[in-house]
């Protein structure tokens, strides 16, 4: 039976029975936003099973998808049902995107789920979509949930930072550590991976990282988190060092279980989601005010140099906030 004409609730029912296309359709609804997305979110929110969320990020070309591929194979081997959300940037010119390098499972029937999405230009949309996707995966019984992003933009960094465990991947010899530092990735990493560690320059990257971590120790970050992020050396093509990464993730999961760290992170995540939603609502209201008759009048005064931008904004903001 095709999914044509089914309501979100009906699609969800099918997804819960294990229909992958139905799960895929729920994700499309989330991605498109609007009422459909809100409905899916309301339906799935109470069904949370608390799957572990792993964020994987790093500079372009760091070998993230190879790593994610191995991670889900490992998860399947341990009897888990992993799901992956791979986020790729949309072309700023056309709005289109090429979502390449979809992870290949040797067995297409493997019990895992892989979805690629494009950023679609507006960061706010992505900030809303990702928690929605996580919720759908979680409701459908997938876990761990892996979110893969290119660690270049603030939104991408924020998204992975909101994971339970954030893994930052780097390459040897390309100044990745410095770049990652600039992008704010070092601040959010729970685990570092130096990929292609058999290449020249791998130890230098490790050295750079250790120095930076030492410095962050000086700033008190380590005290705050109670943990110094480990650096895992990975030979991605040969698949060595991988067991160590898996173990480090398990160790981190255990670490999150001690005390209230996991709860704290999830609380932050929900708070960020609500914040993004408020921002979206406000953003829409702002547009409405600007498009309104009153908005037009104020902007016209501005054009005629009868008003300053600051006072125009204040006047419209008063209108917006109803005070």
């Amino acid at each position: 039976m095709s999914l044509r004409g089914l309501s979100p609730a009906q699609v969800l029912a099918r997804a819960l029975e294990g229909d992958r296309h139905a799960t895929g359709r729920l994700l499309t609804l989330i991605e498109r936003g609007g009422e459909g997305a809100d409905e899916v979110a309301s339906l799935t929110h109470p069904m949370a099973k608390g799957a572990h969320v792993i964020g994987i990020t790093g500079p372009p070309g760091a070998g993230k998808s190879t790593l994610v591929g191995q991670l889900i194979k490992e998860a399947v081997r341990h009897g888990a049902r992993p799901a992956v959300l791979a986020v790729d940037p949309s072309s700023p010119l056309s709005g289109g995107a090429i979502l390449g390098d979809r992870i290949r499972m040797d067995d297409p029937e493997s019990d895992c789920f892989i979805r690629s999405i494009a950023t679609r230009g507006h960061s706010g949309g992505l900030a809303l979509a990702v928690p929605g996707v996580v919720r759908v995966f979680d409701a459908c019984g997938f876990g761990p949930i892996i979110i893969e992003t290119v660690g270049v933009g603030q939104v991408e960094v924020d998204i992975t930072a909101a994971a339970d465990t954030t893994v930052v991947v780097m390459n040897p010899g390309t100044g990745d550590a410095v770049q990652a530092n600039k992008a704010g990735l070092l601040e959010v990493a729970d685990i570092f991976v130096v990929n292609k560690a058999d290449r020249p320059g791998a130890n230098e990257v490790r050295g750079d990282l250790q120095i930076m971590l030492d410095l962050s120790h000086m700033t008190g970050r380590e005290d705050h988190w109670g943990r110094r992020p480990p650096v895992v050396m990975l030979k991605s093509l040969e698949g060595t060092g991988f067991g160590e990464l898996w173990n480090e993730i398990q160790t981190h999961i255990e670490f999150l279980g001690i005390g209230s760290e996991r709860e704290r992170r999830r609380h932050l995540r929900q708070r960020a989601e609500v914040e993004a939603r408020i921002e979206q609502i406000v953003h829409q209201s702002v547009q409405q005010v600007l498009d309104s008759q009153e908005g037009g009048r104020v902007l016209e005064r501005l054009r005629k140099l009868q008003d300053s931008p600051a006072s125009a904004a204040k006047e419209l903001a008063r209108l917006l906030l109803g005070s």
Binding site: G100, D101, L237
Partner: protein
């Protein structure tokens, strides 16, 4: 005064070389009876370092380029008949095309092979097929070219085993096997194992032929497929030569002296439609190779410096619209190859954009070369365009662009072109650069900034339907029967132990896999079985689906 003296000396040296060369029996004059010199212009002359103007002093006055036509389809028996036909008609070179399953290391009974057996070339599963392919042919008296890469060593082993069974020692075998794995990852995509193990197999064959098969060319470094995949001329030039340097570095690292194998490396380029760009590319290729081999790799033997190449006209330039006009394209491209100094040439058939060439179309393609050779007069003078301001500038420009790419690869590889090429494969440098170039060209065609006659201008209505060659299914049935008979008749325990031995050798990178591969094919292990055994050691390459 010094300069003048050295010029005179160059001229004298050239003259000595030229006088020593045996010339063809032909009149060296124009069709109107004007006598012409073998060369014009200044030193360095053809046959002199850096060989920009040609690898030999007398060029086509001694020997025309080899008019090599790629053939082969159906079963080994069918192709054998074709071969004997060629030999009867005075041809001394046999060129073998293999079908897709054979190229990918799969047997004819593999689930993917259905519908592909014998289709774009001959199917070779076991030594039995190799016996059929060369039955009643004196392998000591011919030169064989085999276009295969991933399983090259296995096919080579079968060729050697068959020759020795029929009384020809391996040292007397002459020919070329393409065996250029690097361009598979960059462009043609017919790979089996990951790059590093593939490189080890290539090096094994280089080492094996350098000691046991002095007349065999173990690698034909091929830019043809890189260009077909959409690269620019400069990319084709640079990636191909970089791959050549990578093989040199790998063989030297394996302990082989550069002059022990470099003379037997050959090249294979594409000849496309932009006439002067192509000629500049060919001339630059010779200069770059000679310079790098001498300066960077310390080659002493003059033959190590020579970039000798085969050329094929650009299949990708052929249009399905108004296919007859492809004959004109092919003629122009063939001319560029000859003016660029190629050692051999394949001209495409005009109907190849749609399917395998029909016999008529293949004949016209061959005749096109013959017109260039015998009617146009271009073969009378070596490097007739040398000294043209435009051609010399284009040659320099091609070289500059290639050098910029070498510099990038050298940096990527931390001072090693070999490592740079591996890194470029790993991070999709080659594939994305090639695809971007192809897209840029396509956009220009789309915008009408580049005219393709018959496609985006000068179009006509629907062209008439032409007869296309189709292979019937009996080929596949016969081949499957052949394979199952061989498997039935052989001693499976011998197969098992031969494969076990090969695996053991493969695990030790200091050993050469060739002798064990020969033993394996002699046990009648199939190509697919040998490949599977090696996959166990080397793994399987899966390309990243990036753009």
């Amino acid at each position: 005064m010094d300069q003048e003296q050295s010029r005179a000396q160059s001229r004298k040296r050239w003259q000595t070389e030229y006088d020593r060369a045996k010339l063809r029996d032909a009149d060296w004059e124009t069709m109107s009876g004007v006598p012409v010199e073998p060369i014009y212009g200044n030193a360095p002359y053809p046959g002199q370092y850096p060989y920009t103007r040609g690898v030999y002093a007398s060029m086509y006055r001694s020997r025309l380029w080899t008019m090599r036509m790629f053939a082969g389809f159906g079963t080994a028996v069918d192709t054998n008949l074709r071969f004997k036909d060629i030999l009867r008609n005075g041809g001394g070179g046999l060129s073998t095309a293999f079908d897709m399953p054979t190229l990918m290391g799969h047997d004819s009974d593999h689930e993917w092979s259905i519908g592909e057996v014998g289709k774009c070339g001959v199917a070779v599963d076991t030594l039995a097929d190799m016996r059929d392919l060369f039955a009643d042919i004196n392998l000591g008296g011919v030169s064989t070219s085999m276009t295969i890469n991933g399983p090259a060593n296995i096919i080579m082993a079968m060729y050697i085993a068959n020759a020795e069974e029929t009384g020809t020692e391996r040292s007397r075998l002459a020919g070329t096997i393409q065996n250029d794995l690097l361009k598979e990852y960059q462009a043609q995509k017919e790979y089996i194992f990951p790059p590093r193990p593939s490189m080890r197999l290539v090096t094994d064959l280089i080492r094996f032929t350098s000691t046991e098969m002095p007349r065999w060319h173990p690698v034909s470094v091929s830019g043809y497929h890189i260009r077909e995949a959409g690269s620019t001329a400069a990319q084709e030039l640079a990636y191909t030569l970089a791959n050549g340097f990578a093989y040199v570095e790998a063989a030297v690292a394996a302990g082989i002296d550069v002059d022990d194998f470099a003379p037997r490396l050959s090249f294979f380029f594409n000849s496309h439609s932009d006439f002067f760009e192509e000629i500049g590319k060919f001339r630059a290729a010779r200069r770059i190779w000679a310079t790098w081999m001498r300066e960077r790799y310390g080659a002493k033997d003059e033959r190590s410096l020579l970039c000798r190449f085969h050329t094929q006209t650009a299949g990708v330039s052929l249009t399905a619209q108004q296919p007859e006009i492809n004959i004109a394209r092919v003629a122009i491209q063939a001319m560029a190859g000859v003016l660029g100094g190629t050692q051999s040439l394949h001209t495409d058939a005009f109907d190849e954009a749609m399917a395998l060439p029909t016999e008529d179309a293949a004949r016209i393609a061959l005749r096109t070369q013959q017109i260039v050779a015998h009617e146009t007069g271009v073969a009378s003078v070596a490097d007739p365009l040398g000294g043209s301001h435009y051609v010399e500038w284009m040659t320099d420009e091609m070289e500059r662009r290639a050098e910029a790419i070498f510099a990038h690869l050298d940096e990527l590889g931390g001072g090693s072109i070999l490592e740079g090429v591996f890194a470029g494969i790993d991070n999709n440098y080659f594939t994305s650069e090639i695809a971007n170039a192809a897209y840029r060209f396509e956009q220009k065609v789309n915008a009408g900034r580049r005219i393709i006659v018959g496609v985006n201008d000068f179009t006509e209505g629907d062209s008439e339907q032409r007869d296309l060659l189709r292979i019937d299914r009996t080929v596949e049935e016969n081949q499957l029967k052949r394979l199952s008979n061989v498997k039935h008749d052989r001693d499976n325990s011998a197969v098992r132990s031969a494969l076990d031995e090969l695996v053991e050798v493969a695990q030790d990178s200091t050993l050469n896999t060739m002798p064990a591969t020969i033993k394996a094919v002699q046990s009648m292990a199939t190509e697919g079985e040998i490949v599977e055994a090696l996959r166990g050691v080397f793994g399987t390459y899966v390309e990243k689906a990036t753009m």
